[in-house]
């Protein structure tokens, strides 16, 4: 029974690949249906091959506008959360101080809270303050929930850093600023980059918190949500496919750069 034996030995691989298939199936469907020419307003059933949507990705009213709002918010939220988060991470790893435990739980709680609870509570704050819901309230919310994730990512990297490297730099008469810029920052950079990337992805893709605090501003996820009720243009699939390809390419390129650096070091 060679086949049964082979099956037994490779059971994990087969099961793992099946899960991978489950994970990627929607992406395949999104890509395939970006070449569809639907009859009605909804793009759920295959009708006919067409390149129309790819030729005119911004042909749908308001879609690319929402995409640009999402990108702007994601960029600013990433910058804000990364700066604030990196500062917190350094303070937590490098210094002993009072209230360290309290700070740690304040960082942990937003990650352990269902999004809808945070979203609703922020909305009550904004309503009580009489704030105008829109770009700024979304940005504030996004920086808030990305912050914890950045802290966690940077902390992991800074914790594995050898402080003796900085001491060595200081022994060689580097000032505190120079030490930070030439030694500390380059070593912490991969952690900061990982945190920033995570913040960007979280902010760009966030729906629940944005849904509560957006007012009449429409981000890309909000646009997709609305279109699920009104009718989904094929262009949404084009954007989805492009995002997937860009993400894969981005990771591939960054890994290639990483590999080359490692080889140079060796």
């Amino acid at each position: 029974m060679p086949f049964v034996n082979w099956l037994k030995r490779n059971l994990v691989v087969i099961a793992g690949l099946l899960t991978l298939g489950y994970l990627l199936l929607p992406n395949v469907v999104v890509t395939v249906f970006s070449f569809n020419k639907p009859k009605g307003r909804f793009n759920y059933e295959w009708q006919q091959f067409s390149l129309d949507a790819w030729k005119d990705p911004c042909g749908v009213a308001d879609m690319c506008g929402s995409l640009s709002i999402s990108l702007q918010i994601a960029v600013w939220a990433t910058i804000g959360a990364t700066i604030l988060g990196t500062m917190i991470a350094f303070a937590l790893v490098r210094y002993r101080f009072r209230a360290r435990g309290a700070v740690n739980s304040l960082i942990f709680l937003p990650m352990a809270m269902p999004e809808v609870v945070m979203a609703a509570s922020l909305l009550t704050l904004f309503l009580n303050m009489g704030a105008q819901l829109g770009f700024w309230t979304i940005l504030i919310a996004h920086i808030m929930f990305c912050l914890s994730f950045v802290v966690t990512a940077v902390k992991a990297r800074v914790m594995s850093m050898d402080p003796r490297l900085e001491q060595a730099a200081q022994d060689l008469y580097a000032g505190p600023f120079q030490t930070f810029l030439r030694v500390t920052l380059p070593i912490a950079a991969p952690g900061i980059a990982a945190g920033a990337l995570l913040a960007f992805a979280l902010s760009f893709d966030d729906f629940i918190i944005t849904n509560f605090n957006a007012g009449s501003t429409v981000t890309f996820p909000m646009f997709v949500w609305g279109s699920a009720q009104r009718g989904t243009p094929v262009q949404i699939n084009v954007i989805g496919t492009t995002m997937f390809i860009v993400a894969v390419l981005f990771v591939l390129v960054s890994m290639a750069i990483g590999n080359r650096r490692n080889r140079q070091k060796a």
Binding site: M87, F97, P163, I239
Partner: protein, 309 residues
Amino acid sequence: MATVTEAPPPLAPTAPEQKPPRKRGRLVPYWLLLPGILWLIVFFALPMIYQASTSVQTGSLEQGYKVTWHFATYWDALSEYWPQFLRSVAYAAAATLLCLVLGYPLAYLIAFRAGRWRNLIMILVIAPFFTSFLIRTLAWKTILSDSGPVVSTLNTLHVLDVTNWLGWTAGDRVLATPLAVVCGLTYNFLPFMILPLYTSLERIDGRLHEAAGDLYAKPITTFRKVTFPLSMPGVVSGTLLTFIPAAGDYVNADLLGSTDTRMVGNVIQTQFLRILDYPTAAALSFILMAAILFMVTVYIRKSGTEDLV
């Protein structure tokens, strides 16, 4: 009198020593923390207090709300919406279990069997993160559509008869049933299970597997006695990372479900954004938060990994 004051035994290799704080820099950590922590206090902690106060207010949108310590809102909300609460917990638990069952082999594959394919598989697990999850959830509408291949296959294999009997599906459809919602939830939070599992599996010393094999342990015994216990930190953080967001989610129940599959997230969303009954919505979200914090605490205690937090 051989009282030798022994030096304490050398500790296991620990993280590199902390730099002793210099006297002049005593305020440095506080300055580093200030902006970020202030942000979290103003936009995370303070809103919770506002929400707490909203939940005990009475009044109306036209006349304004006042704090009247009207705790009955909690009771009313719970007695009216307990089915949605139960459903949220049940769906989230089912999705978490499915994530564990589906995610474990893939995490294991990446950690031990993938070889040079490891990076590629990793990318394929992470890349969907960067594609809008709403678009991907909508794709499930296509996959599970009534006339689609999935439903007709399940029908031919008489799987739907079984799931109908269990109440997971209804008639010849999967969409707009609990099965579709759980399927969507599982899909959405699967990467959150796979990544921590992979991290903890990757740390396991491969020689332990060899040693178990040398001691005549069957592969299944090796897994049960060595691999799985050592991967517990990943299992715990993975289940938390899937259960918590799944219990509060309303996107899957809305896009893939029907009015019979509404979860507590859906109720909070409608109360807050459509009905504008703020006290009830605030009470509901507090009950959800308390329930989740309670379950998470119990779970962490039981699983014996308290150092996780």
